[in-house]
């Protein structure tokens, strides 16, 4: 926490990208206040209107206001991607820590499952899982969790293995520390910064994958204002109503860039070893 506050004071890149992240989250939260129209309100006679002062981003195939949909999409897409990363982080890290600390059979079982998962191409497996379970946002999150947790598990495990051999851990063991105590007090705090950095820099990538699944029809379902889904809906009018693809695409692009910048500068702040 101290690092973060220092970072905000001293690291201008971090301060700036944090500001942008907060701005994005602010927009997402304030969408109902900012949006001029109801994102689901269809005025079909006004379908496919180009951008104008009345409809800043034009209107879509059902005459819904594209600007309002992109704004609402921010809260929809951001909350789902943050939930996704949180789930992956929690599942992957805890399994990795368990595998690394206890070793033996626990390790073998967890890591062999993880080996199996990474022997498939991730996105294809996610498509298959989401396809079998049926398209919905929750199923897309589950599918992506299943294919992504292994990365966190492997990282957490390798770090735990390294830390386990350090003197302070052995001292704790000799002093009769219980495994839960050692894990919580000595191991987790040491691996947490790196895990958080990984998670933060993953937000962008996860957002793309979630949008990708929605684009393919395996994620959010209509009429939800989700960016990936909006891209897919706009695809059919790529040449005649390009604003339907352009603005959701731009929203995804900006959000991913902002989160990637933030993830990078967060690493600089939390992990001083990497500093020049």
């Amino acid at each position: 926490m101290e690092n973060l506050i220092n970072g905000l004071k001293n690291n201008r890149a971090f301060a700036f990208s944090s500001f942008l992240v907060l701005l994005l989250i602010g927009i997402a939260l304030a969408a109902p206040l900012l949006a001029p129209y109801d994102p689901l309100e269809a005025t079909m006679k006004n379908a496919y209107l180009p951008p104008s002062s009345e409809h800043l981003f034009g209107t879509d195939k059902l005459g819904r206001d594209n600007f309002s949909r992109v704004l609402y999409g921010a809260s929809y897409s951001l909350s789902s991607v943050l939930l996704l990363v949180a789930v992956i982080f929690a599942v992957g890290t805890s399994l990795g820590v368990l595998a690394g600390y206890f070793g033996g059979k626990v390790d073998t079982v967890i890591m062999r499952i993880s080996d199996m998962m990474i022997s498939f191409p991730g996105m294809i497996l996610a498509i298959a899982i989401a396809g079998i379970m049926g398209g919905s946002l929750i199923n897309a999150i589950i599918a992506l969790t299943i294919v992504t947790w292994t990365k966190y598990a492997r990282l957490a495990r390798s770090m735990v293995l390294k830390i386990k051999k350090r003197d302070f851990v052995e001292a704790a063991v000799v002093n009769g520390g219980k495994p839960t105590h050692i894990l919580w007090k000595h191991i987790v705090p040491n691996i947490l910064p790196l895990m958080i950095i990984t998670a933060a820099s993953d937000i962008g990538a996860m957002m793309m994958e979630l949008a990708g699944l929605s684009f393919l029809g395996f994620g959010s379902q209509p009429p939800a204002p989700e960016w990936g889904l909006m891209l897919n809906e706009g695809r059919q009018q790529l040449q005649t109503a390009p604003w339907l693809m352009f603005f959701p695409g731009l929203a995804i692009f900006l959000t991913v860039v902002v989160f990637n910048l933030w993830g990078d500068s967060l690493r600089d702040v939390l992990d001083p070893r990497q500093e020049d």
């Binding site: 689901l40 269809a42 079909m44 006679k45 379908a47 180009p50 951008p51 104008s52 034009g58 195939k61 059902l62 005459g63 396809g131 049926g134 398209g135 029809g217 379902q221 209509p222 009429p223 695809r235 059919q236 009018q237 790529l238 040449q239 005649t240 109503a241 390009p242 604003w243 693809m245 352009f246 695409g249 731009l250 692009f253």
Partner: protein
Amino acid sequence: MKKTIKFTAAVAMIGLMAFASAGCGGDDKKAAAAKDTLKFGVTNFADSLEPTDNYFGWIVMRYGLGECLVKFDEKMNSTPWLAENWQVSDDKLTWTFKINDKAKFSNGNKVTAEAVKKSIERTFEKAARARAMFEYDNISADGQTLMIKTHTPVATLPGMLGDPLFIIIDTSVTDRDYAKQGPICTGPYMVNTYSKAKAVMDANPNYWDGEVPFKHVEIPTIDDPNTRAMALQSGEIDMAINIAPGDMSLFSNKDKYNISAIASLRDVLARMNVKEGKPMYDKRVREALLSSLDRETYCKVLLKDTFTSGGPLMPPSVDYGFDQLKDPNTYNVERAKKLLEEAGWKDTNGDGYVDKEGKNLEMDFIFYSGRAELPLFAEATQSDAKKVGIKVNLKNVDYNVLDGIGVRGEYDLLISNILTLQAGDPEVFINQYWKTNVNGNNPQNGSGYSNPAYDALSDKLAVEFDPAKRRQLVIDMQKIILDDAATIIFGYPQTNMISNNSIANAEILPCDYYWLTKEIKPAQK
């Protein structure tokens, strides 16, 4: 306004280029002196050219490879093709076809009545669908005269023989891989190489019915309609089938493109589950739902006039009383609200949806996204139904499970895009979803719909030979469905074929079977 469009388009293009490394279309500078190769962009579902498998015969016919005894004209009347004429005996059991004396297979063999007999027998042997169409006692051949004796009177037999299932092939040739090379047929073109992704074809040197206009034809499969439009724009193909509604305006320049669009024989309709216990068991709820839907706007605005908005079961492209049948449930929101109230549905908890006995009026709307208009109709329905307080839950399913859901009745609304004429006749279509299903004898009717008056008309239709009387029966049946509010007919799609100015006579017919014909020629310059 225009500037904004251009600017947006420009920015979008820059954005796209930044992401994609795809090559540019580029100009087509191959201004050939004499055009001898036609390139035709299509959608294709067939991995094989065996006409008796699945619906693969459609592709054999669409690609100008195979022909039948009978062809359907623009009014869906049966007209001569390989058969010059035909008549039925007085007892309505024996049909006599006179095979065209000029007709030849692409290997030069003459098409005799004997060859036709063998081909039809082969179809019956291999395809269960043929046996479901009619049963014959025997087929006899004498010179160019073919006689088919049926078990029971079959009023529409010539039309059935116009189905691509009955493409006439040379059965004396046995050393061919039908899947990859196709059978020996009588069409203007023959296969050079075929795969689902691309067909390359050459002119048939022995074509019996005039000159073949192109030496070669290449038919790449471009299943995505937007990609197909782009391929046509870039000159990669000369001609494309079914350009999407949203892209039609790209080809409005009459000097460069020729659009041939026609009302197809299809309906986009949603079956309504009217089983007891379902909300739509109550006719007033069905009427309310129908009245809440602004189908005209869907077709005019959302689909840019590429659909005719719906009313009766049969589309305007065929002569089954479209103009005289009146839909009692046209768009009228106030009426819809009133009907719901009469049926006891009221919004008592202020959540925007009407309810009764503590339960909201909810309907599951099953759709698939393989056809672009289906999700659009589904979403439009959801949006319009909400305005009168009906909650529509959209369920996107895979096309392969759709049929099962329909048969088991696991839906409130189920949308599909279906052909109204089978072999030139509406009988199969008009029975399948609405004739009473007694112990599974009409499995496609999973909706529980049953009306004795309708069944009586259907029974009459089964044995009626006179075309005028058949037409009247079909009209009467449609009226019952309209009055019962038993189905949502969203609209009737157009089908189109767009060609660039190097091609002439690329005209589409309402029937889905004919795409590449001998009439399509290089343009005279």
